[in-house]
């Protein structure tokens, strides 16, 4: 019964055109960035960076290297936007459309309904991240060769990886990216459970993330960085480090999973006490 309800939630979610806006945006952004990398100074600047670190650009300007370079801005800009767009819709849109009242005329409990919706949302977040990874790597492979991976991110030590290990790390990074996306979705979902418009839930979730990013960037808050959810989003980048800082990753993942659970419980509580009226 639970699985049937989950399947139905997925039908509802993936039956909507707006669910695919994110996928479309990723394809467009990916194409634009890839062409920009290939045909502007971006590539030559990157080659200089490799050279200054003693690596041959011809060996490390590869599909994997470019895929990660392409991913970074999209993870920061597009992924939060589209996950919070879907998360903000999950409950508030159904309330706005009147379908929530139809559902709650049935004997399903509110907490179960929310659980099914939240799981469907998390599945969407995971699918979005996987699609993002496939698109990034697939598109990069069209223009760049399959060779070793060079990884560099601001504030982190660079690392070089053979192609096979680079691919494995790339795939592992997406597990942590899926957790990040689930956290953003959960925050939007939480707001969606309150009595507000879907757009308001999306905007509040994005605002919450933005405030985290801004505060985390202020030097005064360096000592409080663990309190900012976005600080823990860096796990996916740690995966490319040598050696992988597992303890740090584990700590951050626990914080992120706890954040998901907290958002769900707050949303559930708010929804439980609400009156559902037309």
């Amino acid at each position: 019964m639970f699985l049937a309800q989950l399947k139905n939630e997925l039908w509802k979610l993936f039956g909507k055109k707006r669910t695919y806006i994110g996928f479309g945006a990723f394809i467009l952004a990916q194409t634009a960035m890839l062409l920009a990398f290939k045909y502007t100074r971006w590539q030559s600047d990157f080659e200089r960076l490799l050279g200054s670190n003693g690596y041959l650009a011809s060996e490390f300007i590869s599909a994997l290297t470019v895929a990660v370079v392409m991913l970074m801005p999209q993870i920061i800009l597009l992924m939060p936007l589209y996950t919070s767009l879907v998360g903000g819709d999950l409950v508030a849109k159904e309330y706005e459309d009147g379908t929530l009242r139809m559902i709650l005329a049935r004997p399903i409990s509110r907490s179960r309904l929310l659980l099914v919706k939240w799981i469907a949302g998390v599945i969407f977040a995971a699918v979005l991240v996987v699609a993002l990874g496939f698109i990034a790597l697939g598109f990069a492979r069209v223009l760049f060769p399959w060779k070793g991976m060079f990884f560099f991110a601001p504030g982190m030590a660079f690392s070089v990886l053979p192609a096979g290990e680079g691919l494995a790390r790339f795939m592992l990074a997406h597990v942590f990216l899926a957790v990040n996306a689930s956290v953003i979705l959960s925050v939007a979902f939480m707001f969606s459970c309150f009595n507000m418009k879907p757009a308001a839930a999306t905007i509040l979730a994005l605002s919450y993330m933005s405030v985290n990013v801004v505060l985390e960037g202020i030097p005064f808050f360096d000592r409080y960085e663990h309190w900012f959810i976005t600080h823990h989003f860096r796990c996916w980048l740690y995966v490319f480090q040598n050696p992988i800082p597992w303890a740090q990753i584990l700590q951050s993942e626990i914080v992120l999973i706890a954040a998901c659970a907290t958002a769900f419980v707050i949303g559930c509580t708010a929804f439980q006490v609400r009156d559902i009226k037309s």
């Binding site: 459309d97 139809m102 004997p107 009156d275 037309s278």
Partner: protein, 303 residues
Amino acid sequence: MIRLRSLQKKFGARLAVEDLTLTVPAGEVFGLLGHNGAGKSTAIGMMLGQVWPTSGEVEICGHDVTRQRARALHKVGAIFETPAFYDYLSGWRNLEILSHYTAPTSPQRIREVVDWVGLSGREQSKVKTYSHGMRARLALAQALLPQPELLILDEPGSGLDPEGIAEMRQTIARLHREMGLTILLSSHLLTEVEQLCTRIAVLNQGRKVFEGQVNEVRAERSRVVLRTPDFAAATSLLRDKGLISGATEGRFILLREGISTAEVTRALVGAGMEVEGIWQHEQTLEDFYLSLVKAATVNGTTH
């Protein structure tokens, strides 16, 4: 089937439903009448566990809705004023989705219901292509899927054209006749309620101002119009003869039980009085409803 005890709902300082006590026995078609904002939808919301009562108790099918919502609503179907669906999905998929919130539903059962409501052939079309009437049928189908014993209809005729309303009325009558369902019908379409319901309750500003049988209402409120040159003398004579229990407004007489208009006519003509006309004035439910609302408003104002 439905039992409300001293039910009250406040939205902030506003009292939406006040001390509502109501019993709807199994097999009845019960009408909940009231103008917009009278508290009908709030009362229905509390029956379905969508709105939390401020105080009082709601029992459906013998179970407390607040504490045992799943059990209480297991055999309940509901249709709302504007049935909302996932327009981008097919009618069939909508039925599958909604029915699974109650219990696993077989495709055969969905097929049966689709046939019953007359949606066959269009069930695989997207709901956004449906007309108002088809949406109403789909709403009925989703309500019937859990094989309900109780059907709660909140303004089911709203948004339908006269033909659609007539069709909906026939369907409700058919549901009661063929399936023996208990039906709670909330409406401000008084003719609809008059034609379908056996009993009614009238809500005004959240308060119940009347509850009784529709037939009783008609009988109690039916009066006879008497047109005669001297109404006072005529009613005095009729009172003396024990034929009427009262006279009002200079033209209405209330006949005692078992007395016909023919007897009244004979008595008046026999006494040499002229009778210009005499006929039964059957007050419509609409007149009745408006008089109740007016009385309730006057009482509310004076108190």
